[in-house]
């Protein structure tokens, strides 16, 4: 129940963030989508023992987070909610890969722990990039970007309609769930048969709603196409954003700048 309320409020909060205003919010959604994908591909393309070259990539989410004025604590909470799968699979690495790869003083660190740390780092980087994309763009604009980038229109329409009715139906399901828990004191009412009839009731209401929506759309001249009438224009700042980040990300991917920096700092330290 707590998880339901949390994910539902997350959804509307994330939606609200997209309506704020910042230089990042004002960028063309296509530019942001492509940059995010490039970032994820760069991060994921390293070999599994890579750590040092991955860390500098944190510059992208950090700077975007600051420029878009998004609350970092919210992002952290979201990361914690989503971490289970990567954590569960990643934790097997130290079990299966015990060959020692790194000695720090007298401590031996096995390859498994290094690749586990690498997986967790990848997780944090890729998920935060995706969350920043949504929180600074908004779902409608993202769908518009997808349509302009060539996604088939039935799919884009489906995304838009799904998102529109998500909030309505989630509220309805929460009402059902709450009514059940208030009558069952948390114990009965969880059986498969009860849940099946609850779900079927929800489904019937959903189908009726679909029929009403269809009639309403037909009254307004719906012909199977949803037209998106928002102009998208690539401006100077968009070009700057895309080319700048492309250069930085490819640079970080191709040249591991960390050892050089480490050497420079190491030379300054008195040891």
């Amino acid at each position: 129940m707590a998880r339901i309320d949390a994910s539902s409020s997350n959804l509307s909060y994330l939606d609200g963030l997209a309506y704020r205003d910042s230089p990042i919010h004002r960028l063309d959604p296509r530019v942001k989508l492509i940059t995010t994908l490039l970032f994820i591909v760069c991060v994921v393309s390293f070999n599994k023992y890579e750590l040092s070259a991955l860390l500098p990539f944190a510059i992208y989410p950090v700077i975007l987070l600051a420029l878009a004025r998004l609350p970092p604590r919210y992002l952290l909470r979201h990361l914690l909610l989503a971490v289970t799968f990567a954590l569960c699979i990643g934790l097997f690495n130290p079990l299966f890969d015990r060959a020692t790869l790194l000695h720090v003083g007298s401590i031996e660190i096995s390859g498994g722990w290094i690749s586990f740390a690498s997986i967790m780092l990848r997780f944090v980087l890729t998920v935060s990039a995706a969350l920043i994309l949504v929180a600074s763009t908004g779902f409608d604009s993202l769908c518009l970007a997808l349509a302009r980038l060539g996604a088939p229109s039935p799919f884009v329409v489906q995304l838009l309609l799904l998102y529109r009715y998500l909030f309505v139906l989630v509220d309805e399901a929460m009402r059902l769930s709450r009514a059940r828990s208030q009558r069952s004191f948390g114990r009965r009412g969880m059986e498969l048969s009860v849940v099946a009839s609850l779900l079927a009731q929800l489904l019937l209401r959903t189908l009726d709603r679909a029929q009403r929506i269809y009639l309403a759309m037909q009254c307004r001249g719906f012909d199977g196409e949803v037209r998106l009438l928002r102009p998208l224009r690539i401006g100077a700042s968009d070009v700057l954003f895309l080319s700048g980040w492309t250069a930085i990300l490819l640079g970080l991917r191709l040249r591991d700048s960390a050892p050089a920096l480490g050497q420079a700092i190491g030379a300054l330290l008195p040891w």
């Binding site: 994921v44 599994k48 040092s52 790869l101 000695h103 990848r122």
Partner: protein, 354 residues
């Protein structure tokens, strides 16, 4: 069940993206050709229904845990394969974007594993032959039970295969498979029973809905055949690509081979094709192997000596340790991350001031 970006490689992600995008385009064109625009709002609302239904959880009999509906089979039964595929793909997209369930690059894998198998394999090949067009109670139960189990087993096997091919996780192929399949057998049984119960309920309350769905939206036979042929071609192509590109880190497959033949690799027949492939692989390797494994196997002692030496010698010359993550690398990376954080902090402050 949702794969994460952190566990796949760009090649696996890219190929699965291409496959899922191809099926999406195909389904969309099929849907457009169907010309029934009643289905447009129905798909939208049913996609939202899947989300909503996942919020009503139930206790799994015999265990203390609770589960929720996945919905792939239910959508296929209600909408037919093409519309169900698009609806599930949209659900997975929203989950990836808003709940970080799976990632943007892994979206292709997730759509393929969780939408393709129930819609285009389990529904037409298992559910429909068993349940038929005029479903009675028992046939619906049997059909959705078997179809849900098979769909989820295929999806789980695909997760294992993709994870192993990506080579990020150390989980051996066989162990991972033995871990995933029983779990998803249990999930599949529950999913099938729930689907059957919901379908039966709808069938008794509003039988018109099911008969409409069964009659008007069944897949065209030859169209399905062409899709299948295309996918076979794609998978053959994919297999070829994978074996060329991603072989140095195939721990999972190597493990399976090691245990089934007692050797680390299969004996390679020396032919022109193989040496060509090997040369091509050397030439085009997307992920050049850093000296990590080699350092661990051959020069482990030397590398250890080098790193230990850094502590004792003064830091005038940081030795070039041939273990990808050297101490200086980590130090530099940490510092660059701190710099990034500082930059972000300054930017935040500057923006808040005016």
């Amino acid at each position: 069940m949702h794969m994460a970006d952190a566990l796949i490689s760009p090649l696996v992600g890219g190929v699965m993206w291409a496959a899922s995008a191809g099926i999406t385009v195909y389904s969309a064109s099929k849907l457009k050709a169907g010309g029934d625009d009643r289905i447009v709002p129905l798909m939208g609302v049913l996609g939202a229904f899947i989300f909503a239904a996942q919020m009503i959880n139930f206790s799994i009999p015999g265990t203390g845990s609770s589960g929720h509906l996945g919905g792939g089979m239910l959508l296929s039964i209600l909408l037919g394969p093409y519309a169900a595929f698009l609806t599930l793909a949209s659900v997975l997209t929203v989950q990836a974007l808003f709940f970080a369930d799976g990632g943007l690059l892994a979206l292709g894998c997730n759509i393929f594993n969780l939408a393709f198998f129930p819609c285009f394999v389990a529904y037409p090949l298992i559910y429909r032959p068993i349940a038929g067009t005029q479903p009675t109670g028992k046939r619906v139960v049997a059909g959705s039970l078997v179809a849900a189990i098979v769909g989820l087993q295929l999806g789980a096997a695909a997760v294992v295969l993709e994870t192993s091919l990506a080579g990020i996780s150390e989980l051996p192929f066989g162990t991972f498979l033995l871990l995933m399949l029983p779990i998803h057998l249990a999930i599949g049984i529950v999913e099938g029973l729930l689907t059957a119960a919901v379908v039966s309920f709808v069938g008794s309350a509003r039988p018109d809905i099911l008969t409409v769905a069964a009659s008007s939206r069944q897949p065209a036979r030859h169209g399905g055949g062409r899709l299948l042929a295309g996918l076979l071609l794609l998978s053959a192509l994919t297999g070829g690509l994978f074996s060329w590109f991603a072989s140095p880190q195939h721990d999972g497959l190597e493990w399976a081979i090691f245990h089934s033949t007692g050797r680390e690799t299969l004996p390679t027949p020396v032919t022109d094709a193989h040496s060509l492939a090997a040369a091509l692989q050397d030439r085009t390797a997307l992920l050049p192997d850093y000296g990590f494994r080699q350092a661990a196997e051959s020069g482990d002692a030397a590398a250890a000596g080098n790193v230990a030496g850094t502590g004792e010698e003064t830091g005038k010359a940081w030795p070039d340790v041939n273990a990808g993550t050297s101490v200086s690398g980590l130090l530099g990376a940490t510092i660059s991350m701190l710099l990034a954080g500082l930059l972000g902090f300054i930017l935040l402050r500057l923006r808040q001031r005016p």
